[in-house]
């Protein structure tokens, strides 16, 4: 055994979402629902009690016809590294019962449904609304329980859940690697369900620390940005867009501020 916890080789799994490629089709959402046993109700139109681990927002540039533009913005859990990259993500530090923690090996923020007792402090802490509460007991009508995946535990009423970056896929990939006596996973061995489901390939997933992974290069694009970077949440989900208004919509700026300069300033602090 003696598999020591080695922070040097730690991975930082992250995502780069190309908003110019995202067509808003919703395949990522459906892919996620079916991968992660996300329940559904007869009425899901109140988006504030609808469980989505990745939610596609529709934003517009606000200009009148015919200069209107629309951009779709898929938002999974940002898996924030938090201030100082120490796993001090907004939610992890507030959970009173350690039902959510930061995995230093992967950089993934967990959510343990059986530990959570439903105080919802983490939801108050998360500016991305990535965390969803199980207001109801989940119900799968007719024979639908039969399609539930054994790799993700169905949640009970009264607990918080959120995107796990399909951590169970990492677990299964690790199983295979152990079996084949390998230390490292290949890039394509561990992909999230949304990245796989995205029919336009807008979502790229990989280890942000690994120079050979596609995300490493993409995140350094001049068109890359993260949501609400100024809050110093340090998310691991990056976005790409060649549209200025889209990049500006990703954060809050005072009238005179220029996003690119602010971004530089914020990143210097990290």
């Amino acid at each position: 055994m003696k598999e020591k916890n080695n922070h040097k080789h730690a991975k930082r799994y992250g995502m780069v979402i190309d908003l110019d490629k995202c067509t808003g089709c919703g395949s990522c959402m459906v892919g996620c629902y079916s991968e992660n046993n996300v329940p559904f109700k007869t009425d899901e139109t109140n988006k504030l009690d609808s469980i989505n681990w990745i939610q596609v927002y529709k934003i517009t540039n606000g200009k009148p016809f015919p200069n209107t533009e629309v951009c779709y913005l898929p938002m999974p859990c940002m898996q924030c590294d938090g201030v100082g990259k120490h796993g001090h993500s907004p939610c992890v530090s507030v959970c009173p019962a350690v039902a959510t923690d930061y995995d230093y090996e992967t950089g993934i923020v967990s959510q343990i449904y059986t530990r959570c007792f439903g105080c919802r402090y983490c939801m108050a802490a998360c500016p991305y609304h990535a965390r969803k509460f199980n207001w109801w007991d989940p119900v799968w009508p007719a024979d639908m329980e039969k399609y539930l995946s054994p790799n993700v535990s169905p949640r009970m009423r009264g607990v918080v859940e959120k995107c796990s970056f399909c951590f169970h896929r990492y677990q299964l990939a690790r199983d295979k690697a152990y079996y084949e006596k390998r230390e490292e996973l290949k890039e394509n061995e561990y992909q999230t369900a949304c990245a796989e489901a995205c029919p336009t390939g807008a979502i790229t997933f990989g280890d942000l620390n690994n120079k050979s992974h596609a995300v490493y290069k993409l995140k350094n694009s001049p068109n890359a940005f993260r949501l609400l970077e100024r809050l110093k949440t340090n998310p691991k989900v990056y976005y790409l867009s060649n549209k200025r208004w889209v990049r500006r919509a990703g954060d809050n700026y005072l009238a005179h501020e220029e996003p690119a300069k602010i971004k530089q300033k914020v990143n210097q602090h990290h």
Binding site: D49, M123, R131, W135, R157, K232
Partner: protein, 412 residues
């Protein structure tokens, strides 16, 4: 009267039927709350109107507010036993009872508020020491235990109980060491009142709540403790006044009230100055650093800048100024106005730190979030009021809560 042996000697109480009627009314309201509570425990939090954007709502506000206004207990203890303001002994019993009510309700509301009540103990067993909520839970429970201990000798002073030598001595001895408990209570209160400030203040993902540098520690913690110490006594005065009105007799000498009010006034003034400094730094440094102007936070019809004015000026400076001036304190209308404003002020502050924090959109493309409590939430929030009325009524009727009552209301 059959219950006469239970009533303290030398005081007059209303007739049994009057009391029963009063209690029946209060119990009916309590039952409504209990029904809602059971409904929530049975069916889950879908009985509320909270949602994923409003994970913290009316209950957390109620929690924060009742803990703040229950602050009269620890602060009067602090003044009486540590500073040595012995006059306040004439009101401290009542302050302790109010504190007891407030804290027991705060714990009850927390138990209703969590999605998995049967796992509630995880907060102690699997505690995350970094979480403000953990700190709050621990201190709240400990302080509630202290308040219970402080309440017990008073209960034992019931004439019937006090006749038992064992209980009589117990009561007596407990009184003797009450200063230690008062000190413990003060210590714990400083922690959890402060931590409650931290609950919102540490949310660095919420620009409306977040404070940086010294404005989170110790400032926000300090603000919460200080405001509870300032406004808790006001609530004690207010409830005393209400009790006096209902029982139609004077229970505490005006000099005691005046002293309490004066101290409270100075506390309010100092608190509100500190709060103003905090607000200014937040509005002009912290928020712009995150891309927000002050007015961004007050851009909704509900949450407009009037709220800030109400909190700081109307319910801050004004009551503070009234209470620190002798003429203001001595005019009973102004005194009560100031006391009520101060209580509203601290409740408003807690409201803003819970409800408005949730309402403010963090994304430029999101709208303000709105929330309206369900009847179940309202009922369970009214429950503590009914419970408080019942406990106070019982306490007043059967316990020698007000030492000056006999003197002020001699029975001819």
């Amino acid at each position: 009267m059959k219950e006469t042996p239970l009533i303290p000697a030398g005081v007059k109480r209303c007739s049994t039927w009057q009391f029963s009627l009063w209690m029946t009314a209060a119990t009916a309201v309590l039952a409504w709350g209990v029904y809602a509570m059971i409904l929530i425990w049975w069916k889950g939090l879908n009985q509320t109107n909270m949602n994923d954007a409003y994970g913290f709502a009316l209950w957390i506000w109620a929690d924060l507010a009742i803990i703040a206004i229950g602050g009269g207990a620890f602060f009067s203890g602090f003044l009486t036993y540590i500073i040595g303001k012995k006059e306040l002994k004439n009101i401290i019993n009542f302050a302790v009872i109010i504190g007891f009510i407030c804290y027991s309700c705060a714990l009850l509301i927390l138990a209703i508020d969590i999605g998995q009540p049967l796992r509630g103990w995880f907060i102690f067993w699997h505690a995350n020491v970094h979480s403000m909520l953990t700190e709050v839970a621990f201190c709240l429970s400990c302080y509630f235990a202290v308040l219970t201990i402080e309440f017990i000798p008073l209960i034992l002073e019931n004439p019937k109980l006090n006749k038992k030598p064992f209980l009589h001595h117990l009561s007596h001895n407990m009184h003797g060491i009450m200063a230690i408990f008062a000190a413990t209570g003060v210590f714990l209160s400083f922690f959890h009142q402060g931590s409650l400030g931290g609950v919102a203040g540490v949310l660095y993902g919420r620009p409306f709540a977040f404070r940086e540098h010294i404005f989170i520690w110790p400032w926000t913690f300090f603000l919460f403790t200080w405001s509870a110490a300032a406004c808790g006594p006001c609530f004690t005065i207010l409830v005393t006044w209400i009790t006096e009105k209902i029982t139609r007799k004077k229970l505490v000498k005006q000099s005691v009230i005046q002293l309490f009010a004066k101290i409270s006034g100075w506390m309010i003034i100092t608190y509100i100055i500190a709060k103003t400094i905090d607000t200014v730094y937040w509005a002009f440094v912290t928020a712009p650093g995150m891309g927000f102007t002050l007015m961004d936070f007050y851009a909704s019809p509900t949450y407009n800048i009037g709220i800030l004015f109400a909190e700081i000026v109307l319910c801050g400076f004004i009551p503070g100024l009234i209470l620190i001036t002798k003429r203001g304190r001595e005019n009973s209308f102004l005194l009560m106005t100031a006391v009520i404003l101060a209580v509203i002020g601290v409740c408003l502050n807690r409201w803003v730190m819970v409800l408005q924090v949730m309402a403010v959109p963090v994304f430029s493309f999101n709208d303000w979030y709105t929330y309206w409590p369900s009847w179940q939430e309202v009922a369970t929030t009214v429950l503590p009021v009914a419970y408080g009325i019942i406990v106070i009524s019982l306490a007043h009727r059967y316990l020698p809560v007000f030492p000056q009552e006999k003197e002020l209301n001699p029975i001819d």
